[in-house]
Every structure is written in C-alpha cells, then in structure tokens.
C-alpha cells in the first residue's frame, strides 16, 4: 500500500510540474499582451483606453474571440466564419490599402455594424465610449499596432449622379476586371472560382452574393461598396483593385453592382436604368478587352 501511494504521489508530482510548465507558457503570452495595456484609440473627439475595456471584453467578446484575442474562444469550434484572430492584426473592413493596418474609425465602425452572415452581432447597444475603448483593446492584442501606423485612407471622390452611361460603363469594368470569376455574371456567388475559394488560413469561404438580400460585410452605403473593392478584404480572397480601377470608374462599378441587388429603396434608380437599357449579364467567354 505505501509503495502504491508513493507511485501515485510521484505521478501527481510529475503532472503538477507539467501543468505548471503549460500554464507558465500561457502566462508568457498574456504577460506580453499585458505590456500593451496602455494602448489607446481615437475616434472623433473620443479617446479610448484599452484597460477600460477589459470588463466589456470579458463579458461580451471573450466567448468567441478568446482570452488572448486569438479567435479561440470556447464557442469558436461551432462558428463559421471563425472569429477574427486579433493577434495577426489583419482585418477585412478597412479604409486603408491592402497590407496596411485599419484606422481606429474602421475598427469602431466594424464593432457598431456587426458582420452580416457571421456570428458577430451589431454592438450598437454599447455606448460610443465603450466601443472606442474596445477598439483600443482589440489593438492591444497585436504587436503590429505598436510598430506600424495605420495606412492612409484611400480618397473617395464625391459621388456623381447616376446615369445610364455610368451604369453601362460600370458593367464594362465588371467584365474587364472579371468580378464574375468569383461573384458570377449575375452576382449570385456562383462564378467558376467560387467553389474553391479559401481564406488565408485555408478554410473554405464564399464570395458575396449580391442577389440574396444580405448585407455586404463591410457596409451598405455607396462609399462602403467603393471602399470594399478598392482596398480589398485582407485575410480573404477578395483582392484590392485600386491599381486597375480609376476613381471615376469605381463609381461606375458601384452603380452597376447596385443593379444586381434585389429591388430596394436605395437602388431603385440603378435598377430602373438597367431595365431601360435592357442590360444582359456579361458574357464570360468574351475575349478580354
């Protein structure tokens, strides 16, 4: 009996040592992360402080985004798309060029807007100050925000008047840069490459379907649509088109994309024009222009 007890205590000791090693490993990471607790954020006239958001994060965000902000919260295994890994500092919804950090305003907008067709709800129930504090908290997880400045937001010229010429020109841009490769000629997310798309972590991902009445993940306004294809959605297959679409052409494309969406108050004009013009979907087999 005493020998058995001895073996047991020995085993328990080894286990405890292993456990200690494992937790201290985790503590190193959280220690590094705690060193960035003085991160702040600026949105409009509000200044956010990371340490003020700790309680809100623990209550509202930690279940999915996890203690360390790596997207490994306890709900994560059941979610698709997966929660964002904040430690990478890579974000979909930005006003800044591909490969650069988003502005504080961009992160603030994402929190308040939520991400349609994902488990990220609209957090406009939190006060503005709480959301600005959470922006600082989100930033403190990634060392990128210590080393780099956000990119310069792309310039969006004033929105011109919608005309039949512009809608037609927009369709030419759609054909030329081949949006249909993924989004399909009718915007139904059924282009030839749609079924094989994967995100940066090699997980399957779907292109946006313009026809099912869902909201684009990074905003619904004309300016938001403009921004989406000019900056690209980092972490996803959606690239930046800013090298190949001029600002004026970009507005044409926004107007054409509106014709693909189901009838609504915001796209009545574009849809009427498309009907008058008798616009047919682009021909995917036409030779490249």
């Amino acid at each position: 009996m005493p020998t058995k007890l001895l073996t047991w205590s020995w085993l328990v000791g080894v286990l405890a040592a292993l456990l200690l090693a494992a937790t201290s490993q985790a503590q190193i990471t959280s220690y590094e992360e705690k060193g960035r607790l003085n991160t702040d954020s600026h949105v409009g006239k509000l200044t956010g402080h990371a340490q003020n958001a700790a309680a809100d994060y623990r209550r509202y965000c930690v279940g999915c985004h996890g203690e360390l902000g790596d997207g490994n919260g306890e709900n994560a295994p059941w979610l698709d798309p997966k929660p964002r890994d904040f430690t990478l500092g890579i974000f979909k919804c930005r006003s800044t060029p591909t490969g650069t950090l988003p502005t504080d305003q961009d992160l603030y907008d994402t929190i308040g807007r939520g991400l349609d067709r994902s488990n990220m709800p609209i957090w406009n129930t939190l006060t503005k100050q709480e959301r600005v504090d959470l922006v600082a908290w989100v930033k403190h997880f990634s060392p990128r925000f210590q080393k780099e400045k956000p990119g310069a937001p792309i310039e969006i010229p004033a929105e011109p008047e919608v005309t039949p010429e512009r809608v037609k020109a927009g369709q030419d841009v759609f054909a030329r840069v081949q949006c249909w490769k993924c989004h399909g000629v009718e915007g139904m997310a059924n282009g030839p490459s749609a079924s094989t798309l994967t995100d940066d972590l090699n997980r399957p991902i779907l292109p946006y379907n313009f026809t099912d009445g869902s909201r684009p993940k990074c905003g619904t306004s004309d300016q938001d649509i403009y921004r989406i294809f000019m900056t690209g959605l980092d972490g996803t297959p959606m690239p930046s088109f800013s090298d190949n679409i001029k600002p004026d052409e970009a507005w044409d494309l926004v107007f054409y994309l509106r014709t693909l969406q189901p009838h609504n108050t915001f796209n009545m004009k574009e849809r009427q024009i498309a009907k008058q013009l008798g616009l047919k979907p682009v021909n995917p087999n036409a030779p490249a222009q």
């Binding site: 980092d234 959606m238 090298d243």
Partner: protein
C-alpha cells in the same frame, strides 16, 4: 627647424595610416564584389514523387495555354541527370556584411496560369516585379508568416494590368504566394540575406560574389526541406558543395 619637421610628420602620419587602412578595406570590398563563388549540383536520389496533372478546365484561357502539353504541379521538379530544379541555396552562417547587395530586379511572371519562376529567391529589400501576360484576371496573394515581420497583401491583376513593383523587408524562408481565382497556382518567395542562387533544370547552381571566408550553405526545397554544408571560399576561387535530397 627640427621640431617643426617633427610636428609636420606627426600630422601627416595619421593621415597616411588612414589612407593605407582605407585602401586595404576598399581592396577587400573589391575582392568581395569580384570575389569567390560557391558552386555545385543538387540531386534527387530514389524515385521522384509523382507530380499530379492540373485540371484547368474551369478557366478556358488557362487550359488553352496548355493544350499541347498538360500542366503539372511543380512541387518537385526533376530534370536532366536527376538534377533538382527550383532549389534555393543561400549562406545561412558566416556572412560578414561586406557582401554586395543584389541589384537586379527579377520578374515573377504569371504565364499560362502558372508562376514563372515557381520559386523566386530574393535579397532582403531587393526590388522585384510581378507581371502578367495572361488574358484572365489573377490575384497575387503572398502569405508571409505573422512572426517574420513581413506584411502580406492581396492585389488583382486583370489582363493588361501594369506590373506590381515591391520588395520584402525581412528575411523569410519562405513566403508562399497563391492566386485565389486559380487555386492550383502556388509559388514561393525565398527572402534571404546576402548572395544566393537557384538551381536550373540540371540541378546546378553558382552563388556569385562570395568574399573569402568560411560559410554554412543551406539548400531549401519546398517539399523536401533543407540541408546544410560547410564550405571555405578562397579569394577569387570557387568552392564546391553538392547536395542530395531523398525522394519520399
């Protein structure tokens, strides 16, 4: 009179010494630029792994480019005499910092919906161009590791798009690059410090402009891993280092 001469000498001597030391350093730099090299061949022993054919039928532009000879994966390319192509050789230990920076601006081309070359080696901060001649839209999507300090991006290149000119800030072996539109398109940027070389279709390589010294050379192959060898380069001459990777 004598003391004056002495003072003059005292002021001229350090200058002379400086010029002398400078000349020695300069001559070393010249040696480095025109200096020695490391050369050899990389071979594969055993059976070469089967490279799957690529079905490009989803994009007629791509499949048309390979009508006469079907495209194959390029993870392990074995050429003449079992030579391994696309192996990158670089100096992993022993660099002095006197090595001349690579000034060429290589091109990473998208041709027939494949990357040419499949593996592009680069010096840190060396500029390169991403070009396309294809009549189909590509997106160029390098995916550096989050810990190496390089930042990924994702840009589209429709037919007729101008080249993208860029560089990598940090050493990283290696950065995968893919095209989401054509999921078979996969290539590598191998970013190293100092001189490097990539094997040709016979598996041979020569790392030029290596100053005299002792080095560790690393051979990197995307599927088969890395191997190292120690070499000593004498001024103005070629040191030899051959590698053999085992087929899996």
């Amino acid at each position: 009179m004598k003391s004056q001469y002495g003072r003059k000498l005292a002021s001229v001597l350090p200058a002379l010494v400086l010029v002398g030391v400078g000349a020695v350093i300069l001559s070393q730099k010249v040696n480095a630029a025109g200096g020695g090299s490391i050369t050899g061949t990389v071979k594969l022993s055993g059976t070469a792994p089967h490279m799957k054919g690529i079905d490009m039928s989803k994009d007629p532009v791509c499949s048309k480019a390979h009508e006469s000879s079907p495209a194959q994966m390029e993870n392990v390319v074995v050429g003449q005499g079992d030579g391994l192509e696309n192996v990158v050789l670089y100096i992993s230990q022993g660099l002095t910092g006197n090595e001349a920076a690579s000034t060429q601006e290589p091109t990473f081309d998208q041709k027939g919906c494949m990357y040419t070359p499949h593996v592009l080696a680069l010096d840190v901060d060396q500029k390169f161009k991403v070009t396309t001649g294809d009549q189909t839209t590509h997106n160029i999507h390098p995916l550096p590791s989050p810990t190496a300090g390089n930042i990924g991006w994702n840009k589209s290149q429709p037919p007729g798009a101008p080249p993208i000119e860029t560089s990598w800030k940090n050493e990283e072996v290696a950065i995968p690059v893919k095209c989401n539109i054509h999921p078979w398109m996969h290539g590598w940027f191998v970013v190293v410090k100092g001189p490097y070389a990539t094997t040709d279709n016979k598996g041979s390589y020569t790392i030029q402009n290596v100053p005299a010294g002792s080095y560790t050379v690393t051979a990197w192959q995307e599927d088969l891993g890395t191997q190292t060898a120690k070499v000593t380069v004498a001024a103005g001459s070629a040191a030899k280092a051959d590698f053999t990777f085992k087929g899996k």
